[in-house]
Symmetry: C2
Subunit: 195 residues, 2 copies
Amino acid sequence: MRKRIITISRQFGSGGRSIGKDVAQALGIAYYDRELIEKVAEKTGLSHNFIEEHGEYSPSKYPFAYSFVGRTTSGMSMSDYLYNEQRRVIVEIADKEPCVIVGRCADYILRDRADSLHAFIHAPLEVREKRIVTLYGETDDAPRKRILDKDKKRAINYQYFTDRQWGAVENYHITLDSHALGMDACVKLLVELAK
Amino acid sequence: MRKRIITISRQFGSGGRSIGKDVAQALGIAYYDRELIEKVAEKTGLSHNFIEEHGEYSPSKYPFAYSFVGRTTSGMSMSDYLYNEQRRVIVEIADKEPCVIVGRCADYILRDRADSLHAFIHAPLEVREKRIVTLYGETDDAPRKRILDKDKKRAINYQYFTDRQWGAVENYHITLDSHALGMDACVKLLVELAK
């Protein structure tokens, strides 16, 4: 079956976003990453910053931090509210048009769609350390710490909302080491699989 | 770089062996699975049964069982001895000819070879349950139990000798869901990557 929807989950600094963008371009389909934030902001009135910070990352490196997130007037936690709205946007997008969706538990949300392909991109830590400095510049934190913090927050967020383990092979149809295989080869493979 | 060596690790019942065989055939290169047992038996004088049972599986479902494995006259445990001899055979084979090697920690043993491609094949549990009954017939144990036992013993064996987690994405250049993608697509992808 042709895969209309491709979800890309990725380790921080692995080049997953860039691969996702190239796959979308090669297939001539829509690409959703930051573009999702825009849509969720329209729906919820929440700020872009809040959505960017909480739409894919746990509030801290500790899972229990979810207990302290503020509540909406209905009593639902802000995190749950944001997840639900984001989930709704992802389902709508997938219904509407073929596309690539990066991150945000999209693999889980669309797991029952036979027309979707779920990929996870990873790369060795030392390669990612170099990559994020080239791409995003230096900060006060060491590159390794930035990567581990970010991946941990993604992992907790994923586990909290899906009850699955982020990056576990079972969740994905294909996982790729973007360093060992090369970014272009990853793009080519995904494009072929989608066809 | 062309990949001369392809290692295939696989969940029990996922079709990894069959994929490995087809990849070897498509590339016109050697295939080592049971063929490895033959070579190790020649070297060590150990029985085929012993090598088959212990060359890839822990002695029981409990990691500490390794402490109770018999010793060689040099004081080395039989498991360590078998692993070392098997490792030596794998390194020799990889030096000698392009090939596909199934299981037996080959991904770890050959991890530093730039001309190797390391793949892991998995499939949903329910699919594997059906597959092993079709392929190997019924036994007194339920298919699910047979799969979980076998995978657990592979995982413990792998962790014991490599200090890595069996089936963790980081260990493999590519992982594939043979059910979602189809066995033929998996073969095709691996053949292309190897070229």
